[in-house]
């Protein structure tokens, strides 16, 4: 018998598995990556002309890219819920458990794979944004902060999505749940300035978890003052991540009783 492999080995092998599955379902992956790009084009070319962002930005594309990046993270993470739910439906979780594989490493495999997919789609969004006139002016430190905020949100949303996958009874239900999650950037400053929204929405729109991420990304990318928004964004992401990991541990235990 070989030595008992640890959580790291399990998570690494299971990440490889999820990525291999993504490569086999490449059409589905491409569709989920095209969606944010299409939305960006729609916002910039269809709506952009009609939206006044307050004059601080040269063009709407300069304003909207951070929102699209967050939207992209939401869409990209949503597939994790479906994948986790598919696993729970079949017998593979029992097999994993009989091999003494911890629930957290199973989910970690899904989350890391989701992060890799998200990095590809984020790069794609950046690329298309530059093609249609997005000209970031971030400093090297700013770029580092952009990467940190995006990575933190992608990991946090992916793990939240994994928890939703455990909560849902069917993969279809899991897909439906995450659909709502990907709407979270809309009531924020992602696409239009908050002060153009009805007054009762301001409170939510200014304080919801996506807002500091968008504010900090926008500031960093355009090299404008960001205040403490990057820290606020990272705190939100850390909070969501901690809650999601704890929640998914409990859910995993109850689902596999």
């Amino acid at each position: 018998m070989s030595d008992a492999p640890g959580i790291l080995t399990h998570a690494t092998v299971l990440t490889g598995r999820s990525l291999l599955v993504s490569r086999r379902n490449v059409d589905a992956v491409i569709t989920s990556m095209m969606l944010p790009v299409l939305l960006m084009l729609i916002f910039v070319y269809f709506f952009g002309g009609a939206i006044d962002t307050g004059g601080a930005h040269d063009s709407y594309v300069m304003y909207v890219v951070p929102g699209v990046l967050l939207l992209c993270a939401g869409f990209g993470s949503a597939t994790t819920a479906v994948a986790v739910s598919e696993d729970m439906k079949g017998g593979i979780i029992d097999r994993f458990r009989s091999l003494d594989i911890d629930g957290t490493s199973i989910l970690a495999g899904h989350v890391v794979a989701s992060t890799v997919r998200n990095l590809v789609s984020t790069t794609l969004v950046f690329g298309v944004a530059v093609l249609i006139g997005f000209r970031p002016a971030a400093t090297p430190a700013g770029w580092l902060a952009v990467a940190a905020v995006l990575l933190a949100y992608i990991v946090a949303l992916s793990w939240l999505s994994a928890a939703i996958g455990l909560l849902a009874r069917t993969p279809e239900a899991a897909g439906g749940f995450t659909f709502f999650m990907s709407f979270l950037p809309y009531p924020s400053s992602a696409f239009v300035p908050v002060d153009t929204m009805p007054g009762w929405l301001h409170g939510f729109a200014e304080h919801q978890p996506v807002t500091p991420a968008i504010e900090s990304l926008r500031g960093l990318l355009l090299d404008q003052p960001v205040g403490d928004t990057p820290w606020l964004a990272l705190t939100w992401a850390a909070g969501v991540l901690v809650v999601s990991v704890a929640l998914s541990r409990v859910l995993f235990r109850t689902r596999t009783r």
């Binding site: 070989s2 008992a4 492999p5 092998v13 079949g90 593979i92 009989s98």
Partner: protein, 314 residues
């Protein structure tokens, strides 16, 4: 190798739940094939899930190779291999990829995992399909791959739990799987398989435990069980209601609308002749008869209603 005492398990709300296991005791002393026979809902899967550490019992205890399934579950997991009712393989991956992944999850390095996967593909007759996605496999191939995947990291000979391994397979695939299971046992493994087919238990198992409503109702070699329960059933169509009522107590199967009674028999000509003479000495009561193999229902009826030893007392 396998020892269980007084296992109970209920699902649902306390007090209003369904009692799935009601004091299951099992003792598998040596290697070989052991069948847990029972109808749907008897508690077969729950028993296997408890023995393979996936579920904890409400009360009672079980040991596998001397290790307690609750307290020493880690150790138990290193001895056992489980193949559940639902295929535990990845549909979008190839057979080869599935086995390599399982091998790596058990801690083998890449080259060793590759080697182990190749060995198992050869042994389970899957070499030609190795590079095809599992979604293109037939039911039998999928089952064999599933079994192979369960075997990847287990030291042989170990303890194997197979939950209804042939359910849903065509007769040919079923035979192929039986062959694979026998081979496992020949290598010294202890196999506990669940089945709802009497024939399967008969063909494959050295010993059979019959599970009904969460309890073991009979245990022994297939031969002893068969001597307790007739292997066949003779269905008699009777000429009158009086004859039907007079003979009803001897029957394991009743169908009053058609005046048909099913009576256990061992299926030999001698017994059939003696049985007909005994039941109908004046040759007026029985109009027609038909003979068929006892179904599991008959066996259960016989085991739970006490109409056993049918062939013996005629």
């Amino acid at each position: 190798m396998i020892e269980a005492h007084g296992l109970t398990k209920s699902y649902g709300k306390p007090g209003a739940g369904v009692r799935v296991l009601d004091g299951v005791g099992l003792r598998v002393a040596r290697a070989g094939i052991h069948a847990l026979l029972g109808p749907n809902g008897a508690g077969k899967t729950t028993t296997v899930r408890i023995l393979s550490t996936l579920t904890t019992p409400d009360s009672g205890s079980a040991r596998i190779a001397g290790y307690d399934v609750v307290a020493d579950r880690r150790r138990v997991r290193r001895v056992i291999s489980l193949t559940g009712q639902f295929a535990a393989v990845d549909e979008t991956l190839t057979g080869e990829e599935n086995l390599r992944m399982m091998a790596r999850l058990t801690g083998l390095g890449r080259p060793r995992a590759r080697q182990r996967a190749d060995e198992l593909l050869t042994r389970f007759g899957l070499v030609d399909a190795a590079r095809r996605q599992v979604r293109t496999y037939s039911g039998g191939m999928r089952r064999r791959l599933d079994l192979a995947a369960g075997l990847v990291g287990s030291p042989e000979p170990g303890v194997f739990f197979l939950d209804e391994p042939t359910t849903g397979l065509d007769p040919r695939s079923r035979r192929e799987l039986w062959h694979v299971v026998r081979e496992l046992a020949d290598r010294g493994a202890t196999v506990l398989l669940t089945t709802q087919y009497l024939e399967e238990a008969d063909q494959l198992a050295d010993r059979v435990a019959v599970l009904d409503k969460g309890r073991i109702v009979a245990e022994g070699t297939p031969a002893t069980l068969k001597s307790r329960v007739a292997g066949h059933r003779m269905d008699l169509v009777l000429s009158s209601r009086e004859a039907y009522l007079r003979l009803a107590t001897r029957a394991v199967h009743h169908s009053p609308e058609t005046l048909t009674l099913g009576i256990p028999t061992d299926g030999t000509a001698a017994h059939a002749r003696a049985l007909l003479d005994d039941i109908d000495p004046h040759r007026t009561d029985v109009e027609r008869f038909s003979l068929h193999s006892a179904t599991l229902d008959d066996v259960f009826l016989a085991l739970t209603t006490g109409t056993t030893e049918a062939p013996a007392h005629v």
